[in-house]
């Protein structure tokens, strides 16, 4: 196992992992607390013949990253809440034209400019539902620095394999958390590239669903094609035919939800006999790990489900664990977003309690422990 120990921040880990995953294009715009990702990409990309560009705004960054993806490069952009709001327009476009792009959102307090230098988890609904219309994105929520590295690589792999935007959702704590990271050697990483066409360019259809839910993706100039944000058929040209329009949107959703099992990834602690199930992600998930351990030390059978894939939501796993528990505790740095998703998954078999906070301060282990003890 060729691994090396290095000290870095979460934001740096994103940039380093992106390069390892084959990212060769980054377009961004400065915003706290994500700017270190752009700075690191500006430093690293030229060394690997990659392209960096600081665009004139967040909208343009998302557009340029999508354009580069259509031209064949693995691409990324990073931002925080206010910028993420602006990116939603072209995130929807990337989704519609099925261009792989990784969008990093390092969450800070909101709404609006909010609390630029303080953590929050208030963008979870925006990450999942931010752009208009029926669409499906994948949202990854790493917690530890090692997870940040590996989940960044996984974000690229998912984006490429499913031809879809993937949101890597961090928060300010994770972005700025600095510590030892075990970096795997590049040779140990599984790297997935987009499915390539096998037909000659003149026969290529960009959305040929006869290959399955993920059509092969040719790059501009090698496989000239037309595409549009309008509803389109397998040729990429606009259509208003209700059968084709319906089939397009259903296929795009199936790409993500039909791959639930492949996408699902959770970290669990003491869940095998958990009577109190804690659900938390990101930095709150790390605090919950401590709280659950303390509860166990005090004789309370608490367990933790910490999703690394927040969307599609791990609803079956949540239900199965909740059914065996007597209470579910959801901790998140917002006033109740994923708790609704947990309640939906639990379907009333077990009461669900929240540890919710949106004041710029992290949720700390004693707060979660107090709730565990209260409901135990």
């Amino acid at each position: 196992m060729a691994k090396r120990l290095e000290v870095m921040s979460g934001n740096e880990a994103v940039a380093r992992a992106a390069i390892a995953a084959g990212c060769r294009f980054y377009a961004g715009y400065p915003i706290t607390p994500s700017s270190e990702i752009a700075e690191k990409m500006a430093e690293l990309l030229p060394k690997v013949d990659g392209k960096f560009i600081q665009m004139e705004d967040e909208i343009a960054s998302m557009a340029a990253a999508t354009g580069a993806s259509l031209a064949g490069l693995k691409s990324m952009t990073a931002t925080s809440g206010p910028g993420f709001s602006l990116k939603q327009e072209n995130l929807g476009f990337a989704s519609m034209v099925e261009a792989p792009v990784v969008i990093v959102d390092v969450m800070r307090g909101g709404p609006s400019t909010g609390l630029p230098t303080f953590p929050a988890q208030g963008d979870v609904m925006q990450a999942i539902w931010g752009t208009h219309g029926d669409h499906a994105v994948v949202v990854l929520t790493p917690g530890t620095l090692e997870e940040v590295y590996l989940e960044t690589v996984r974000a690229f792999n998912i984006a490429e394999k499913l031809r879809t935007p993937v949101v890597l959702l961090l928060d300010e704590i994770i972005g700025h958390m600095t510590g030892d990271v075990m970096i795997p050697d590049d040779s140990e990483l599984e790297i997935i590239d987009r499915p390539k066409p096998t037909v000659p360019p003149e026969e290529y259809l960009p959305y040929d669903d006869s290959y399955g839910d993920v059509p092969p993706m040719g790059s501009y100039f090698e496989y000239p094609f037309h595409t549009t944000g309008l509803h389109h058929d397998k040729t990429g040209f606009p259509t208003t035919n209700p059968v084709k329009c319906g089939a397009l949107i259903e296929r795009m959703l199936r790409k993500v939800f039909g791959n639930r099992e492949w996408l699902e990834k959770n970290v669990e602690h003491y869940t095998e006999d958990a009577e109190i199930l804690v659900f938390a992600f990101g930095s709150t998930g790390l605090a919950a790990e401590v709280a659950v351990k303390w509860a166990r030390e005090q004789g309370i059978k608490a367990g933790l489900l910490r999703p690394l894939t927040l969307w599609p939501f791990p609803e079956k796993r949540v239900y199965d664990l909740a059914e065996k528990a007597k209470a579910v505790v959801v901790a998140e740095m917002n006033l109740g977003m994923m708790i609704r998703e947990v309640e939906r998954a639990v379907r009333g078999v077990t009461p669900v309690y929240g540890v919710l906070k949106a004041n710029g301060q992290p949720i700390e282990p004693p707060e979660i422990l107090a709730k565990i003890k209260e409901v135990a």
Binding site: A27, I53, L70, A71, Y220, F221, P224, F237
Partner: protein
């Protein structure tokens, strides 16, 4: 012999969506002829657009074609050109698309001097959405959102492009297809960011609201306001008010973005050896 457009168009996508007599078709043909004269292969050309009537053009031509979101064509095109600097990228845009919602991308593409050719078809109105006022609707003229006459001053596309740093800037009108083609070709030849404005007729949305519902009447109205650049040089600003000055305003050399980036990459890689 008449020019053969067939290799460049997607015949099965016709008839097009444009109203009879629309000037956009004249522009499309001029672009095709200019690309043909450059001797470029179709597969080496990307035509990118935003939203609007002009932005429907990529659907009809046989290049790599991308129909994006409103105003954002230049940003997508920048990503494509930066990713593949060896290929040719053209953007077509309407006045609302390029100068209102896309205004920020417009000035920054000019500043960056990235090797993209932008052609702005200025028909002085939002055509597709039904005749709303645009940044180039002349003062006093009517639009659906200026039913009593436009009270806003308008942008001068050429001056905006010059001020922001474009290295080729020209203007023609729908009445001069040969000049239009020549300017587009010069724009394509320019190693840098080129802006070519084409003043065109939207007799349906702009014309009908302003007693010029016949395309020939509106094109004549444009013709009457055309002033060649050499003649304009001897005219006062007052005399040029409301006129369309035709010609090539800027043709200069300035470091191009993708070339400068490539030099930087070479420098960085040389230093790390």
């Amino acid at each position: 012999m008449a020019f053969n457009y067939k290799p460049y168009i997607r015949e099965d996508k016709f008839p097009n969506i444009w109203c009879p007599g629309c000037g956009i078709g004249i522009l499309m043909k001029a672009i095709i002829r200019a690309v043909h004269k450059m001797g470029w292969k179709r597969e080496d050309v990307a035509l990118v657009s935003g939203i609007g009537c002009t932005s429907r053009m990529p659907g009809y031509v046989n290049f790599n074609t991308l129909h994006t979101t409103h105003g954002r064509a230049l940003a997508f095109a920048t990503g494509i050109k930066h990713a593949r600097p060896d290929k040719h990228v053209i953007v077509v845009s309407g006045d609302g698309d390029a100068l209102a919602i896309g205004g920020n991308h417009f000035i920054h593409a000019c500043r960056r001097n990235i090797d993209i050719t932008l052609i702005v078809l200025n028909n002085m109105i939002y055509g597709m959405t039904g005749g709303q006022v645009s940044p180039t609707t002349p003062a006093g003229y009517r639009a659906s959102t200026m039913p009593y006459g436009n009270v806003e001053p308008n942008f001068d596309t050429v001056n905006l492009a010059i001020g922001a740093g474009a290295t080729y800037v020209a203007r023609s009108t729908v009445n001069n297809p040969a000049l239009m083609e020549r300017q587009i070709k010069e724009g394509l030849q320019n190693k840098g960011f080129s802006v070519i404005e084409v003043v065109s007729n939207c007799h349906i949305q702009f014309g009908r609201r302003n007693k010029m519902g016949d395309q020939l009447v509106l094109r004549h109205w444009i013709k009457e306001r055309e002033v060649p650049l050499r003649k304009a040089k001897d005219m006062s600003p007052e005399e040029l008010e409301g006129k369309f000055v035709i010609g090539t305003f800027v043709k200069k050399t300035r470091p191009e973005y993708t070339e400068e980036y490539a030099k930087m990459v070479e420098r960085v890689k040389g230093a790390s050896k």
